[in-house]
Protein backbone atom coordinates (compact mmCIF):
# COMPACT_ATOMS: atom_id res chain seq x y z
CA UNK A 1 0.00 0.00 0.00
CA UNK A 2 2.74 2.39 1.02
CA UNK A 3 4.87 1.66 -2.04
CA UNK A 4 1.87 2.20 -4.31
CA UNK A 5 1.30 5.61 -2.74
CA UNK A 6 4.94 6.46 -3.27
CA UNK A 7 4.77 5.36 -6.88
CA UNK A 8 1.75 7.60 -7.46
CA UNK A 9 3.49 10.53 -5.82
CA UNK A 10 6.49 9.95 -8.06
CA UNK A 11 4.26 9.83 -11.15
CA UNK A 12 2.62 13.11 -10.18
CA UNK A 13 6.02 14.70 -9.60
CA UNK A 14 6.92 13.76 -13.18
CA UNK A 15 3.82 15.52 -14.53
CA UNK A 16 4.62 18.54 -12.36
CA UNK A 17 8.10 18.67 -13.88
CA UNK A 18 6.67 18.62 -17.42
CA UNK A 19 6.47 22.41 -17.74
CA UNK A 20 10.16 22.71 -16.82
CA UNK A 21 11.10 20.00 -19.32
CA UNK A 22 9.04 21.60 -22.11
CA UNK A 23 10.49 25.02 -21.36
CA UNK A 24 14.04 23.70 -21.49
CA UNK A 25 13.32 21.72 -24.67
CA UNK A 26 11.98 24.85 -26.37
CA UNK A 27 15.11 26.79 -25.37
CA UNK A 28 17.36 23.92 -26.46
CA UNK A 29 15.82 23.50 -29.92
CA UNK A 30 15.55 27.21 -30.72
CA UNK A 31 19.13 27.87 -29.64
CA UNK A 32 20.50 24.79 -31.38
CA UNK A 33 18.93 25.86 -34.66
CA UNK A 34 19.59 29.57 -34.43
CA UNK A 35 22.78 30.10 -32.46
CA UNK A 36 25.25 28.98 -35.19
CA UNK A 37 24.25 31.78 -37.54
CA UNK A 38 24.40 34.41 -34.79
CA UNK A 39 27.93 33.28 -33.95
CA UNK A 40 28.93 33.26 -37.61
CA UNK A 41 27.49 36.68 -38.44
CA UNK A 42 28.38 38.17 -35.06
CA UNK A 43 25.86 39.21 -32.41
CA UNK A 44 26.45 42.89 -33.10
CA UNK A 45 26.00 42.53 -36.84
CA UNK A 46 22.87 40.39 -36.38
CA UNK A 47 21.09 42.58 -33.84
CA UNK A 48 22.24 46.00 -35.08
CA UNK A 49 22.55 45.27 -38.79
CA UNK A 50 20.03 47.19 -40.86
CA UNK A 51 20.04 45.01 -43.98
CA UNK A 52 17.88 41.93 -44.20
CA UNK A 53 18.35 40.24 -47.54
CA UNK A 54 18.71 36.51 -46.94
CA UNK A 55 19.49 35.77 -50.60
CA UNK A 56 22.59 37.99 -50.38
CA UNK A 57 23.50 36.53 -47.02
CA UNK A 58 22.72 39.73 -45.13
CA UNK A 59 21.03 39.06 -41.83
CA UNK A 60 20.42 42.22 -39.81
CA UNK A 61 17.24 42.31 -37.77
CA UNK A 62 17.50 45.88 -36.47
CA UNK A 63 14.51 47.10 -38.56
CA UNK A 64 12.36 44.34 -37.03
CA UNK A 65 13.48 45.23 -33.53
CA UNK A 66 12.56 48.87 -34.14
CA UNK A 67 9.24 47.82 -35.71
CA UNK A 68 8.39 45.62 -32.73
CA UNK A 69 9.30 48.42 -30.31
CA UNK A 70 7.16 51.02 -32.12
CA UNK A 71 4.13 48.78 -32.43
CA UNK A 72 4.39 47.57 -28.84
CA UNK A 73 4.77 51.09 -27.48
CA UNK A 74 1.78 52.20 -29.56
CA UNK A 75 -0.29 49.27 -28.32
CA UNK A 76 0.46 50.14 -24.71
CA UNK A 77 -0.48 53.79 -25.31
CA UNK A 78 -3.81 52.70 -26.81
CA UNK A 79 -4.47 50.09 -24.18
CA UNK A 80 -3.52 51.79 -20.92
CA UNK A 81 -6.18 54.53 -20.74
CA UNK A 82 -8.94 52.04 -21.51
CA UNK A 83 -7.74 49.14 -19.38
CA UNK A 84 -6.94 51.28 -16.35
CA UNK A 85 -10.30 53.10 -16.53
CA UNK A 86 -12.02 49.75 -16.75
CA UNK A 87 -10.08 48.31 -13.84
CA UNK A 88 -10.51 51.32 -11.53
CA UNK A 89 -14.15 51.84 -12.42
CA UNK A 90 -15.09 48.19 -11.99
CA UNK A 91 -13.10 47.71 -8.82
CA UNK A 92 -13.85 50.98 -7.02
CA UNK A 93 -17.01 52.58 -8.39
CA UNK A 94 -19.28 49.80 -9.59
CA UNK A 95 -21.38 47.38 -7.58
CA UNK A 96 -20.14 43.78 -7.25
CA UNK A 97 -22.97 42.71 -9.52
CA UNK A 98 -21.92 45.04 -12.36
CA UNK A 99 -18.29 43.94 -11.85
CA UNK A 100 -19.38 40.29 -11.96
CA UNK A 101 -21.08 40.89 -15.32
CA UNK A 102 -18.59 43.18 -17.05
CA UNK A 103 -15.36 41.41 -16.05
CA UNK A 104 -16.19 38.14 -17.83
CA UNK A 105 -17.36 40.16 -20.85
CA UNK A 106 -13.98 41.89 -21.03
CA UNK A 107 -12.21 38.57 -20.56
CA UNK A 108 -14.20 37.31 -23.51
CA UNK A 109 -12.23 39.78 -25.65
CA UNK A 110 -9.23 37.53 -24.97
CA UNK A 111 -11.15 34.62 -26.44
CA UNK A 112 -11.65 36.20 -29.87
CA UNK A 113 -9.12 34.58 -32.25
CA UNK A 114 -6.21 36.86 -33.13
CA UNK A 115 -6.87 36.36 -36.83
CA UNK A 116 -10.31 37.91 -36.33
CA UNK A 117 -8.66 40.99 -34.79
CA UNK A 118 -6.32 41.21 -37.75
CA UNK A 119 -9.27 40.92 -40.09
CA UNK A 120 -11.15 43.69 -38.26
CA UNK A 121 -8.07 45.84 -38.75
CA UNK A 122 -8.17 45.13 -42.49
CA UNK A 123 -11.87 45.79 -43.04
CA UNK A 124 -12.55 48.57 -40.49
CA UNK A 125 -9.30 50.39 -39.74
CA UNK A 126 -7.67 50.40 -43.19
CA UNK A 127 -10.52 52.31 -44.90
CA UNK A 128 -10.77 54.69 -41.92
CA UNK A 129 -7.05 55.48 -42.00
CA UNK A 130 -7.05 55.75 -45.79
CA UNK A 131 -9.99 58.15 -45.89
CA UNK A 132 -9.20 60.36 -42.92
CA UNK A 133 -5.46 60.28 -42.37
CA UNK A 134 -4.00 59.26 -45.72
CA UNK A 135 -1.58 56.45 -46.49
CA UNK A 136 -2.35 52.93 -47.60
CA UNK A 137 -3.66 51.59 -44.32
CA UNK A 138 -1.21 48.90 -43.21
CA UNK A 139 0.95 50.78 -40.73
CA UNK A 140 2.33 51.05 -37.23
CA UNK A 141 -0.81 53.00 -36.34
CA UNK A 142 -3.25 50.28 -37.35
CA UNK A 143 -1.15 47.56 -35.74
CA UNK A 144 -0.91 49.57 -32.50
CA UNK A 145 -4.65 50.11 -32.30
CA UNK A 146 -5.53 46.46 -32.92
CA UNK A 147 -2.82 45.13 -30.59
CA UNK A 148 -3.85 47.67 -27.97
CA UNK A 149 -7.36 46.22 -28.04
CA UNK A 150 -6.02 42.68 -27.99
CA UNK A 151 -4.04 43.23 -24.78
CA UNK A 152 -6.91 45.07 -23.02
CA UNK A 153 -8.23 41.97 -21.23
CA UNK A 154 -4.79 40.91 -19.94
CA UNK A 155 -4.06 44.26 -18.32
CA UNK A 156 -7.63 44.94 -17.15
CA UNK A 157 -8.13 41.57 -15.54
CA UNK A 158 -4.81 41.58 -13.65
CA UNK A 159 -5.32 45.22 -12.60
CA UNK A 160 -8.81 44.46 -11.23
CA UNK A 161 -7.42 41.53 -9.25
CA UNK A 162 -4.62 43.65 -7.78
CA UNK A 163 -7.03 46.47 -6.85
CA UNK A 164 -9.39 43.99 -5.23
CA UNK A 165 -6.49 42.48 -3.28
CA UNK A 166 -5.90 45.78 -1.45
CA UNK A 167 -7.33 45.23 2.07
CA UNK A 168 -10.66 46.89 2.72
CA UNK A 169 -9.23 48.64 5.79
CA UNK A 170 -7.19 50.91 3.46
CA UNK A 171 -10.40 52.25 1.96
CA UNK A 172 -12.15 52.59 5.31
CA UNK A 173 -9.16 54.31 6.89
CA UNK A 174 -8.85 56.85 4.12
CA UNK A 175 -12.59 57.52 3.77
CA UNK A 176 -12.99 57.96 7.53
CA UNK A 177 -10.31 60.66 7.43
CA UNK A 178 -12.60 62.63 5.13
CA UNK A 179 -10.95 61.82 1.81
CA UNK A 180 -13.19 61.51 -1.23
CA UNK A 181 -13.26 58.23 -3.08
CA UNK A 182 -10.98 59.49 -5.82
CA UNK A 183 -8.47 60.78 -3.25
CA UNK A 184 -8.63 57.37 -1.59
CA UNK A 185 -7.98 55.63 -4.90
CA UNK A 186 -5.16 57.96 -5.86
CA UNK A 187 -3.37 58.12 -2.52
CA UNK A 188 -4.14 54.80 -0.81
CA UNK A 189 -5.33 52.13 -3.21
CA UNK A 190 -3.32 52.72 -6.39
CA UNK A 191 0.04 52.93 -4.54
CA UNK A 192 -0.77 49.67 -2.74
CA UNK A 193 -1.79 47.92 -5.96
CA UNK A 194 1.09 49.38 -7.99
CA UNK A 195 3.27 46.28 -8.33
CA UNK A 196 0.35 44.09 -9.35
CA UNK A 197 -0.85 46.55 -11.98
CA UNK A 198 2.70 46.96 -13.31
CA UNK A 199 3.09 43.22 -13.64
CA UNK A 200 -0.16 43.17 -15.63
CA UNK A 201 1.17 45.89 -17.93
CA UNK A 202 4.39 43.98 -18.47
CA UNK A 203 2.49 40.79 -19.30
CA UNK A 204 0.50 42.92 -21.75
CA UNK A 205 3.76 44.11 -23.33
CA UNK A 206 4.83 40.47 -23.62
CA UNK A 207 1.56 39.63 -25.36
CA UNK A 208 2.02 42.49 -27.82
CA UNK A 209 5.64 41.57 -28.58
CA UNK A 210 4.65 37.95 -29.16
CA UNK A 211 1.52 38.45 -31.25
CA UNK A 212 1.98 37.14 -34.77
CA UNK A 213 -0.99 36.53 -37.04
CA UNK A 214 -2.91 39.76 -36.39
CA UNK A 215 0.28 41.79 -36.83
CA UNK A 216 1.10 40.17 -40.18
CA UNK A 217 -2.35 41.12 -41.45
CA UNK A 218 -2.18 44.80 -40.53
CA UNK A 219 1.37 46.12 -40.14
CA UNK A 220 2.46 46.08 -43.79
CA UNK A 221 5.56 43.94 -43.14
CA UNK A 222 8.11 46.05 -45.05
CA UNK A 223 11.68 45.66 -43.85
CA UNK A 224 12.42 49.35 -43.29
CA UNK A 225 13.23 51.38 -40.25
CA UNK A 226 9.96 53.29 -39.79
CA UNK A 227 9.96 57.07 -39.43
CA UNK A 228 6.35 57.80 -38.70
CA UNK A 229 3.18 56.22 -37.39
CA UNK A 230 1.91 55.83 -40.93
CA UNK A 231 4.89 53.81 -42.12
CA UNK A 232 4.54 50.08 -42.49
CA UNK A 233 6.78 47.97 -40.27
CA UNK A 234 7.73 44.37 -39.73
CA UNK A 235 7.92 42.78 -36.29
CA UNK A 236 10.23 39.99 -35.14
CA UNK A 237 7.32 37.56 -35.02
CA UNK A 238 6.14 38.49 -38.52
CA UNK A 239 9.68 38.02 -39.84
CA UNK A 240 9.63 34.41 -38.69
CA UNK A 241 6.11 33.60 -39.80
CA UNK A 242 6.33 35.22 -43.24
CA UNK A 243 9.50 33.53 -44.42
CA UNK A 244 9.52 30.23 -42.55
CA UNK A 245 7.73 28.12 -45.14
CA UNK A 246 10.25 28.71 -47.89
CA UNK A 247 13.45 29.36 -45.93
CA UNK A 248 16.33 26.89 -46.15
CA UNK A 249 19.92 26.75 -44.89
CA UNK A 250 21.33 29.97 -43.46
CA UNK A 251 18.06 31.75 -44.06
CA UNK A 252 16.15 29.25 -41.91
CA UNK A 253 18.80 29.47 -39.20
CA UNK A 254 18.46 33.25 -39.25
CA UNK A 255 14.72 32.92 -38.63
CA UNK A 256 15.40 30.69 -35.65
CA UNK A 257 17.94 33.27 -34.51
CA UNK A 258 15.15 35.87 -34.71
CA UNK A 259 13.25 33.45 -32.48
CA UNK A 260 16.14 33.51 -29.98
CA UNK A 261 15.97 37.31 -29.74
CA UNK A 262 12.21 37.08 -29.25
CA UNK A 263 12.56 34.30 -26.68
CA UNK A 264 15.11 36.23 -24.62
CA UNK A 265 12.98 39.40 -24.74
CA UNK A 266 9.93 37.51 -23.52
CA UNK A 267 11.91 35.75 -20.78
CA UNK A 268 13.18 39.09 -19.45
CA UNK A 269 9.63 40.51 -19.46
CA UNK A 270 8.33 37.36 -17.72
CA UNK A 271 10.95 37.58 -15.01
CA UNK A 272 10.18 41.25 -14.33
CA UNK A 273 6.43 40.52 -14.19
CA UNK A 274 7.06 37.58 -11.89
CA UNK A 275 9.17 39.61 -9.45
CA UNK A 276 6.62 42.45 -9.46
CA UNK A 277 3.62 40.23 -8.84
CA UNK A 278 5.45 38.45 -6.02
CA UNK A 279 6.24 41.81 -4.46
CA UNK A 280 2.53 42.67 -4.75
CA UNK A 281 1.54 39.47 -2.96
CA UNK A 282 4.05 40.01 -0.15
CA UNK A 283 2.53 43.38 0.62
Amino acid sequence: MKSRENLIQFGLLITALSTIVIHLLIALFIFQEGLPIILRVGINEFVCGTHWSPQQGQFGIFPMIVGTAWITAGAILVSLPLSLSCAIYLSEFSTPKVRGTIKPIIELLAGIPSVVYGFMGMVILFPMIRNHLGGAGPSILSASIILGIMILPTITSIAIDSLQAVPYSYREGSLSLGATRWQTIRMAILPAAKSGILSGIILGIGRAVGETMAVIMISGNSVIIPNSLFDPARTLTANIALEMNYAVGDHRQALFATGIVLFITIMILNIIANVLSRRGVEK
Binding site: A16, Y89, M122, M217, L262
Partner: protein, 277 residues
Protein backbone atom coordinates in the same frame (compact mmCIF):
# COMPACT_ATOMS: atom_id res chain seq x y z
CA UNK B 1 -8.41 73.83 -9.07
CA UNK B 2 -11.55 71.74 -8.94
CA UNK B 3 -13.27 70.96 -5.70
CA UNK B 4 -12.56 67.35 -4.61
CA UNK B 5 -16.21 66.34 -4.90
CA UNK B 6 -16.51 67.76 -8.42
CA UNK B 7 -13.22 66.20 -9.39
CA UNK B 8 -14.45 62.85 -8.17
CA UNK B 9 -17.61 63.15 -10.24
CA UNK B 10 -15.54 64.05 -13.30
CA UNK B 11 -13.12 61.17 -12.79
CA UNK B 12 -15.97 58.74 -12.32
CA UNK B 13 -17.51 59.90 -15.62
CA UNK B 14 -14.20 59.53 -17.48
CA UNK B 15 -13.61 56.06 -16.09
CA UNK B 16 -17.15 55.07 -16.99
CA UNK B 17 -16.63 56.22 -20.58
CA UNK B 18 -13.40 54.16 -20.77
CA UNK B 19 -15.25 51.08 -19.55
CA UNK B 20 -18.12 51.68 -21.94
CA UNK B 21 -15.73 52.01 -24.91
CA UNK B 22 -14.09 48.68 -24.05
CA UNK B 23 -17.40 46.85 -23.78
CA UNK B 24 -18.57 48.53 -26.98
CA UNK B 25 -15.49 47.30 -28.89
CA UNK B 26 -16.24 43.72 -27.91
CA UNK B 27 -19.88 43.90 -28.92
CA UNK B 28 -18.98 45.70 -32.13
CA UNK B 29 -16.56 42.96 -33.21
CA UNK B 30 -19.03 40.18 -32.46
CA UNK B 31 -21.92 42.04 -34.07
CA UNK B 32 -19.92 42.96 -37.17
CA UNK B 33 -18.70 39.41 -37.82
CA UNK B 34 -22.11 37.86 -37.19
CA UNK B 35 -23.90 40.46 -39.32
CA UNK B 36 -21.71 39.69 -42.30
CA UNK B 37 -21.18 36.01 -41.66
CA UNK B 38 -24.49 34.55 -40.49
CA UNK B 39 -26.05 34.83 -43.95
CA UNK B 40 -23.31 32.57 -45.35
CA UNK B 41 -23.83 29.81 -42.81
CA UNK B 42 -26.22 27.04 -43.69
CA UNK B 43 -26.11 23.25 -43.56
CA UNK B 44 -24.34 23.10 -46.88
CA UNK B 45 -21.62 25.52 -45.73
CA UNK B 46 -21.01 23.43 -42.61
CA UNK B 47 -21.17 19.99 -44.21
CA UNK B 48 -19.70 20.29 -47.70
CA UNK B 49 -16.11 20.43 -48.90
CA UNK B 50 -14.56 23.64 -50.17
CA UNK B 51 -14.22 24.07 -53.90
CA UNK B 52 -11.75 26.21 -55.84
CA UNK B 53 -9.43 26.89 -52.83
CA UNK B 54 -12.37 27.95 -50.67
CA UNK B 55 -14.00 30.39 -53.09
CA UNK B 56 -17.05 28.18 -53.10
CA UNK B 57 -18.36 25.27 -51.09
CA UNK B 58 -18.19 24.75 -47.36
CA UNK B 59 -15.71 24.25 -44.57
CA UNK B 60 -16.40 20.66 -43.49
CA UNK B 61 -12.75 19.44 -43.58
CA UNK B 62 -11.72 22.47 -41.50
CA UNK B 63 -14.36 21.73 -38.87
CA UNK B 64 -13.20 18.11 -38.66
CA UNK B 65 -9.54 19.19 -38.53
CA UNK B 66 -10.25 21.70 -35.77
CA UNK B 67 -12.18 19.18 -33.64
CA UNK B 68 -9.61 16.37 -33.98
CA UNK B 69 -6.65 18.67 -33.32
CA UNK B 70 -8.31 20.16 -30.22
CA UNK B 71 -9.20 16.70 -28.93
CA UNK B 72 -5.62 15.46 -29.23
CA UNK B 73 -4.30 18.61 -27.54
CA UNK B 74 -6.77 18.25 -24.66
CA UNK B 75 -6.24 14.49 -24.25
CA UNK B 76 -2.52 15.09 -23.80
CA UNK B 77 -2.65 18.32 -21.80
CA UNK B 78 -5.34 17.22 -19.31
CA UNK B 79 -3.58 14.28 -17.57
CA UNK B 80 -0.29 16.20 -17.47
CA UNK B 81 -1.89 19.42 -16.26
CA UNK B 82 -4.23 17.90 -13.67
CA UNK B 83 -1.43 15.63 -12.41
CA UNK B 84 0.85 18.62 -11.99
CA UNK B 85 -1.91 20.57 -10.23
CA UNK B 86 -2.53 17.67 -7.80
CA UNK B 87 1.17 17.49 -7.02
CA UNK B 88 1.46 21.25 -6.52
CA UNK B 89 -1.54 21.47 -4.19
CA UNK B 90 -1.91 18.14 -2.39
CA UNK B 91 1.67 16.96 -1.96
CA UNK B 92 3.79 20.03 -1.47
CA UNK B 93 2.61 23.58 -1.30
CA UNK B 94 5.90 25.21 -0.45
CA UNK B 95 9.58 24.66 -1.10
CA UNK B 96 12.25 25.45 -3.59
CA UNK B 97 11.22 22.90 -6.24
CA UNK B 98 7.63 24.12 -6.13
CA UNK B 99 8.56 27.74 -6.68
CA UNK B 100 10.79 26.72 -9.59
CA UNK B 101 7.94 24.73 -11.14
CA UNK B 102 5.57 27.67 -10.61
CA UNK B 103 8.04 30.06 -12.22
CA UNK B 104 8.46 27.87 -15.31
CA UNK B 105 4.70 27.39 -15.59
CA UNK B 106 4.22 31.18 -15.54
CA UNK B 107 6.94 31.63 -18.14
CA UNK B 108 5.54 28.93 -20.38
CA UNK B 109 2.20 30.74 -20.46
CA UNK B 110 3.96 33.91 -21.64
CA UNK B 111 5.86 32.30 -24.51
CA UNK B 112 4.46 33.52 -27.85
CA UNK B 113 2.69 30.98 -30.01
CA UNK B 114 5.13 31.54 -32.86
CA UNK B 115 7.92 30.18 -30.63
CA UNK B 116 5.81 27.12 -29.85
CA UNK B 117 5.28 26.83 -33.59
CA UNK B 118 9.03 26.89 -34.32
CA UNK B 119 9.65 24.39 -31.54
CA UNK B 120 6.91 22.00 -32.68
CA UNK B 121 8.17 22.30 -36.24
CA UNK B 122 11.72 21.26 -35.31
CA UNK B 123 10.80 18.58 -32.77
CA UNK B 124 7.72 16.88 -34.22
CA UNK B 125 7.67 17.77 -37.91
CA UNK B 126 11.40 17.38 -38.59
CA UNK B 127 13.24 15.39 -35.87
CA UNK B 128 10.53 12.88 -35.00
CA UNK B 129 9.40 12.74 -38.62
CA UNK B 130 5.67 13.23 -37.99
CA UNK B 131 5.59 15.73 -40.84
CA UNK B 132 2.97 18.48 -41.02
CA UNK B 133 0.22 16.52 -39.35
CA UNK B 134 -2.67 16.65 -36.93
CA UNK B 135 -0.47 14.77 -34.47
CA UNK B 136 2.35 17.35 -34.58
CA UNK B 137 -0.20 20.16 -34.27
CA UNK B 138 -2.07 18.50 -31.41
CA UNK B 139 1.10 17.77 -29.44
CA UNK B 140 2.46 21.30 -29.81
CA UNK B 141 -0.90 22.85 -28.92
CA UNK B 142 -1.07 20.57 -25.86
CA UNK B 143 2.20 22.04 -24.58
CA UNK B 144 0.82 25.52 -25.10
CA UNK B 145 -2.36 24.73 -23.15
CA UNK B 146 -0.57 23.17 -20.20
CA UNK B 147 -0.14 26.34 -18.08
CA UNK B 148 -3.85 27.25 -18.38
CA UNK B 149 -4.96 23.79 -17.31
CA UNK B 150 -2.48 23.62 -14.42
CA UNK B 151 -3.52 27.03 -13.10
CA UNK B 152 -7.30 26.50 -13.25
CA UNK B 153 -7.03 22.97 -11.81
CA UNK B 154 -4.85 24.25 -8.98
CA UNK B 155 -7.42 26.93 -8.13
CA UNK B 156 -10.23 24.37 -8.22
CA UNK B 157 -8.38 21.88 -5.97
CA UNK B 158 -7.38 24.61 -3.52
CA UNK B 159 -11.03 25.67 -3.23
CA UNK B 160 -12.03 22.24 -1.83
CA UNK B 161 -12.36 22.79 1.95
CA UNK B 162 -9.77 21.01 4.11
CA UNK B 163 -12.34 19.19 6.25
CA UNK B 164 -13.30 17.10 3.21
CA UNK B 165 -9.78 15.70 3.26
CA UNK B 166 -9.69 15.37 7.04
CA UNK B 167 -12.89 13.31 7.11
CA UNK B 168 -11.65 10.98 4.40
CA UNK B 169 -8.24 10.52 6.02
CA UNK B 170 -9.77 9.94 9.44
CA UNK B 171 -11.92 7.17 7.99
CA UNK B 172 -8.71 5.39 7.02
CA UNK B 173 -8.54 6.54 3.40
CA UNK B 174 -5.03 6.81 1.98
CA UNK B 175 -3.85 10.06 0.50
CA UNK B 176 -4.46 8.87 -3.07
CA UNK B 177 -7.91 7.47 -2.21
CA UNK B 178 -8.77 10.82 -0.65
CA UNK B 179 -7.64 12.64 -3.77
CA UNK B 180 -9.45 10.38 -6.22
CA UNK B 181 -12.69 9.86 -4.29
CA UNK B 182 -13.10 13.15 -2.42
CA UNK B 183 -10.95 16.00 -3.70
CA UNK B 184 -11.14 15.49 -7.47
CA UNK B 185 -14.93 14.95 -7.64
CA UNK B 186 -15.47 18.15 -5.65
CA UNK B 187 -13.02 20.08 -7.83
CA UNK B 188 -14.39 18.66 -11.06
CA UNK B 189 -16.41 21.69 -12.26
CA UNK B 190 -13.35 23.92 -11.82
CA UNK B 191 -11.05 21.47 -13.59
CA UNK B 192 -13.60 21.11 -16.38
CA UNK B 193 -13.67 24.90 -16.74
CA UNK B 194 -9.93 24.89 -17.35
CA UNK B 195 -10.23 22.10 -19.91
CA UNK B 196 -13.03 23.89 -21.73
CA UNK B 197 -11.07 27.15 -21.85
CA UNK B 198 -8.18 25.06 -23.18
CA UNK B 199 -10.40 23.79 -25.99
CA UNK B 200 -11.35 27.39 -26.83
CA UNK B 201 -7.69 28.37 -26.85
CA UNK B 202 -6.75 25.54 -29.22
CA UNK B 203 -9.57 26.49 -31.60
CA UNK B 204 -8.36 30.12 -31.75
CA UNK B 205 -4.75 29.24 -32.32
CA UNK B 206 -3.31 29.94 -35.76
CA UNK B 207 0.45 30.46 -35.62
CA UNK B 208 1.20 27.13 -33.91
CA UNK B 209 -1.11 25.15 -36.15
CA UNK B 210 0.09 26.58 -39.45
CA UNK B 211 3.70 25.55 -38.63
CA UNK B 212 2.98 22.10 -37.25
CA UNK B 213 -0.22 20.85 -38.87
CA UNK B 214 0.23 22.65 -42.16
CA UNK B 215 -2.70 23.91 -44.18
CA UNK B 216 -3.73 21.18 -46.63
CA UNK B 217 -7.37 21.58 -47.55
CA UNK B 218 -8.48 17.94 -47.49
CA UNK B 219 -10.53 15.83 -45.17
CA UNK B 220 -7.87 14.22 -42.93
CA UNK B 221 -8.04 10.42 -42.76
CA UNK B 222 -5.23 9.70 -40.31
CA UNK B 223 -3.37 11.45 -37.51
CA UNK B 224 -0.38 11.78 -39.82
CA UNK B 225 -2.38 13.79 -42.36
CA UNK B 226 -1.99 17.53 -42.57
CA UNK B 227 -5.14 19.50 -41.83
CA UNK B 228 -6.38 23.05 -42.05
CA UNK B 229 -8.20 24.31 -38.98
CA UNK B 230 -10.95 26.92 -39.18
CA UNK B 231 -8.66 29.69 -37.90
CA UNK B 232 -6.02 28.87 -40.51
CA UNK B 233 -8.65 28.62 -43.25
CA UNK B 234 -10.06 32.00 -42.26
CA UNK B 235 -6.57 33.52 -42.19
CA UNK B 236 -5.75 32.23 -45.68
CA UNK B 237 -9.13 33.27 -47.15
CA UNK B 238 -8.86 36.79 -45.70
CA UNK B 239 -5.16 37.49 -46.19
CA UNK B 240 -4.95 36.19 -49.73
CA UNK B 241 -8.30 37.75 -50.56
CA UNK B 242 -9.67 34.45 -51.85
CA UNK B 243 -13.26 34.96 -50.74
CA UNK B 244 -14.45 37.63 -48.35
CA UNK B 245 -17.87 36.03 -48.16
CA UNK B 246 -16.57 32.66 -47.03
CA UNK B 247 -14.05 34.36 -44.74
CA UNK B 248 -16.94 36.06 -42.93
CA UNK B 249 -18.82 32.77 -42.77
CA UNK B 250 -15.83 30.93 -41.28
CA UNK B 251 -15.23 33.77 -38.81
CA UNK B 252 -18.87 33.64 -37.72
CA UNK B 253 -18.64 29.89 -37.08
CA UNK B 254 -15.44 30.50 -35.08
CA UNK B 255 -16.94 33.33 -33.03
CA UNK B 256 -20.14 31.42 -32.25
CA UNK B 257 -18.15 28.36 -31.17
CA UNK B 258 -15.86 30.43 -28.94
CA UNK B 259 -18.81 32.32 -27.43
CA UNK B 260 -20.70 29.13 -26.60
CA UNK B 261 -17.60 27.49 -25.11
CA UNK B 262 -16.82 30.53 -22.98
CA UNK B 263 -20.38 30.84 -21.73
CA UNK B 264 -20.42 27.16 -20.81
CA UNK B 265 -17.12 27.53 -18.93
CA UNK B 266 -18.45 30.59 -17.11
CA UNK B 267 -21.61 28.76 -16.11
CA UNK B 268 -19.59 25.82 -14.78
CA UNK B 269 -17.32 28.11 -12.78
CA UNK B 270 -20.34 29.79 -11.22
CA UNK B 271 -21.68 26.45 -10.14
CA UNK B 272 -18.38 25.81 -8.38
CA UNK B 273 -18.43 29.19 -6.65
CA UNK B 274 -22.07 28.72 -5.59
CA UNK B 275 -21.18 25.34 -4.13
CA UNK B 276 -18.55 26.67 -1.73
CA UNK B 277 -19.99 29.97 -0.64
Amino acid sequence: MLKPILLEKLVKKILFVGTAITVFILFFIIFYILKNGLAVIDMEFLLSSPKDLGRAGGIFPCIVGTIVLSLIAILIATPLGVGAAIYLTEYTRKGRLISIIRFFTECLSGIPSIIFGLFGFVLFVVYLGFGWSILSGGLTTAFMLLPTIIRTSEEAIKAVPDYYREVSLSLGGTKWQTIVKVVLPSALPGIATGIILGIARSIEETAVVIFTAGSVLHLPTSLFDSCRTMSVHFYILAREGISMENAYGTAAVLIITILLINMFAYWLMHRLIAKYS
